[in-house]
Symmetry: C2
Subunit: 478 residues, 2 copies
């Protein structure tokens, strides 16, 4: 009982302090997995606290996965599994990073283009010109679908005017696109298929819709069609979510034939395809040509989602989606229920930015800068991690996906912790699988936030950590 004693700070909420205390006892194994916690009355008497405080602390332990309540019996400690613990720790790391509390780290986890390349002055110019031109008009709510001229402009610049601009819905970034499409389409127990591995932000949304998620392994040119067909044969599937270029995390791009095959399957088996076209502007390999699945979509089977935040103008939080007509109304309603509408001013600024073709130059610049980094990082990995990892160069995008060689005994979570101590941040593969364990042999490193100096230094440190691990197990350092 004595271990439960703690000195309270009167300035803070007591139940939170008690919760933190018990949690740390569980983490340190001073309370064992499955150990019964004191009864509420017992602990209240012991700590001279109100029973409600104990109840709240126990409740929070349950909510956070540190305890189970057995009705009529009591509350029992539960050790959080290492992956859940890791995810928590990962998210805390990024809170610290984004609020500047991590100091000078080498961040290989970035997903957005670097602030160094942001066209601040262009953005400033269009914001001012929009406010001068439109005045208060620029601030009122738009049509639910989004600012009409922006939808026309998107149709003109990216679709050769082949879409009906009323089929375009402006959203506040691609993540919102995935969220509102899910709310409109996916209900409890609906079957949906994702790539394995896949983007963790999409996985979370589908899980929160209580969908029944099937994972299909990804191959060099897209998802494994035979595995997919097996699922389709036995299950009525609602939709398939995928990324057409530089898939996150596997970096795979789809072949045209696979895109077409998937469209055929969608028609035969009556399911819909969510195409997350998140990074196709950054193609470094001259043999890779761009063609979205949506552009081949004759039967209105593809929900196309595009982010402008990742690459265009990150602070602007705008993307769009193109939706089969059959879902148009429900997706629109879902948008209204999610946030009414996307910032009107930003939509107008983006429209002007497109009209003036500022983006063309900007994307050219990004391609030059990131191709350099890509080539440099590829070479560094090949040189310094050669026997430690396996990977396929993606030919575009902002990251590499590495598989630990069999000679490396630690998994990518352990690698994450070891590297974090040395000021290097990576993303372990466990984030990208429905059953996280399957990602333990993989990790992702991106170059969006790291110049060549940081890339060189970071890869060197990864190399030395992996070499130590290999040495421990008798494999010579290279």
């Amino acid at each position: 009982m004595d271990k439960y004693r703690l000195r309270f700070n009167n300035e803070f909420n007591k139940y939170i302090q008690l919760y933190e205390h018990i949690k740390s006892l569980i983490d340190k194994n001073q309370i064992e997995d499955g150990e019964k916690l004191p009864s509420i009355r017992e602990l209240a008497d012991f700590l001279k606290l109100n029973k409600v405080t104990i109840i709240n602390a126990y409740k929070k332990l349950q909510v956070e996965g540190y305890a189970n309540q057995k009705i009529g019996s009591g509350t029992y400690a539960k050790r959080r599994d290492s992956i859940r613990g890791f995810k928590k720790s990962y998210s805390i790391t990024f809170k610290k990073l984004s609020s500047g509390r991590l100091g000078d780290v080498i961040d290989f986890t970035g997903e957005t283009t670097s602030a160094d390349f942001f066209p601040v002055s262009d953005l400033k110019a269009v914001l001012n010109d929009v406010l001068d031109r439109d005045g208060a008009e620029a601030l009122i709510y738009q049509d639910v679908l989004g600012y009409e001229k922006l939808r026309e402009r998107i149709n003109e610049k990216f679709w050769d005017n082949k879409l009906d601009f009323d089929d375009i819905l402006v959203v506040s970034g691609a993540q919102q696109g995935i969220d509102i499409v899910s709310k409109a389409l996916i209900n409890v127990n609906d079957n949906i298929i994702v790539e394995k591995p896949t983007y963790s932000g999409a996985l979370s949304v589908f899980k929160s819709r209580k969908a029944n998620i099937f994972e299909v392994p990804i191959e060099k040119d897209g998802v494994d069609l035979e595995a997919l067909k097996k699922i389709l044969k036995k299950n009525k599937v609602k939709c398939f979510y995928f990324m057409s270029y530089f898939q996150n995390p596997s970096t795979v791009s789809y072949s045209d034939s696979k895109k077409k095959e998937l469209l055929k399957l969608a028609e035969e088996h009556d399911f819909y395809i969510i195409e997350d076209d998140y990074l196709s502007e950054l193609i470094y390999d001259e043999n890779t040509k761009y063609s979205s699945m949506k552009s081949y979509d004759k039967n209105d089977r593809v929900i196309y989602i595009k982010s402008f935040s990742k690459i265009f103008l990150p602070g602007i939080r705008i993307g769009y989606l193109v939706c089969p007509r059959i879902f148009k109304d429900s997706v629109q309603n879902s948008k209204v229920n999610t946030d009414i509408s996307t910032s009107s001013l930003m939509q107008r600024a983006l429209e002007m930015y497109m009209e003036r073709e500022y983006w063309v130059e900007h994307i050219k610049l990004l391609n030059v800068k990131y191709k350099e980094r890509y080539e440099f990082m590829k070479t560094e990995i090949q040189k310094k991690l050669n026997e430690r990892v396996e990977f396929n160069p993606p030919g575009g995008g902002l990251h590499f996906y590495l598989k630990l060689s069999d000679s490396i005994q630690i998994n990518s979570i352990e690698l994450f912790y070891k590297l974090r101590e040395k000021g290097i941040l990576i993303t372990p593969g466990v984030m990208f699988y429905k059953h996280s364990k399957e990602g333990e042999r993989y990790f992702k490193i991106g170059f969006s936030q790291t110049d060549s100096d940081k890339i060189r230094k970071g890869i060197e440190i990864i190399s030395s950590v992996l070499s130590e691990e290999a040495e421990v197990y008798g494999i010579p350092n290279n």
Copy 2:
């Protein structure tokens, strides 16, 4: 069969044209409710179309509620009930309105302060100053919780620094607040309580979470506590959603005693309270004092949601919420899954706008302007609709909620259509009830978008329409 014939326009999708045609036949009763539609083969032969086109048209009819499919038997027409039809028609009206296609109407449906009062030059100043001060920094993603300085500023200006600023989460408007809180808290079949009537945007979100919704009638000083207690006695309730001031639509404000009583009930019955503080800045009645329920919340029972879009700087799409610690992590995750983060630039602009106290002047101005409109509209209603409607003046906010007198035989949906013909837009009460029919005797008229001229003219037309209705049934015109 002949009625199915139509001439196709080759430029557009044929199945959509067929769908529209059949839908209009159903609307016009040329296909009756329950009538069997031709078989797919029959209709394909008759119209010389591919069978897939017929299948898609029938599928869309089903999705839109115009047909039922009976397996092995065929597809049957279904007349959409008048309320569902109305809601569709209402939403189309507003699409037309927001894209300027309705021309010069008198819009009594507005919910946001008028563009005439927007402080465009102040916004422009802060946007420029933020971009000059922060450069590209202003555009990168923030801490999940939102820009730290903005959270500090909110704590300082609105909470006297009594909150922990890390308990504040910045969101993209109040609707998003409701959505992410619901995703974090509410699961399938959870019991939740709302006021009757309540805000339609919240109802939709709760319905989409598949919650079990209880409605409790609203009285002059807040929800009916006896009715609420009856529900609490028999059901484990997860949360109660309410608006503390000028409730939308009933315009009721809560008494302090009712707020405290509700907090006590929440603690006793272990439920949480979502306080939507959507319009408390506009108080015209000097006897009404402001105190949020959150400010009385000692046991961390209240999730407080505040919009800045409605009143502060509408184009900016920012609000915030304060969340009990027990839900903090799950609400944060829900925010990330919804849209990653709110526009960083706009958060910085808002912070500067607050720092410079521009908002104090702006809200003073709004109070002067809207109090004038409020008094004027109140008098006009009292003078011209006296025997036609009943209502309680709210003493603040942006609208009135009127009940049709018994002498008026039409319901508010019919009134909506009649007024729309004359260029007047109102909101029928059916939008605000779980069972829409209960709102048929009510309608809402707001003055946010209408100056005194429009108010005068609009109320006159409403008066003449209602008088005609009363006359038809033998009640003399006044």
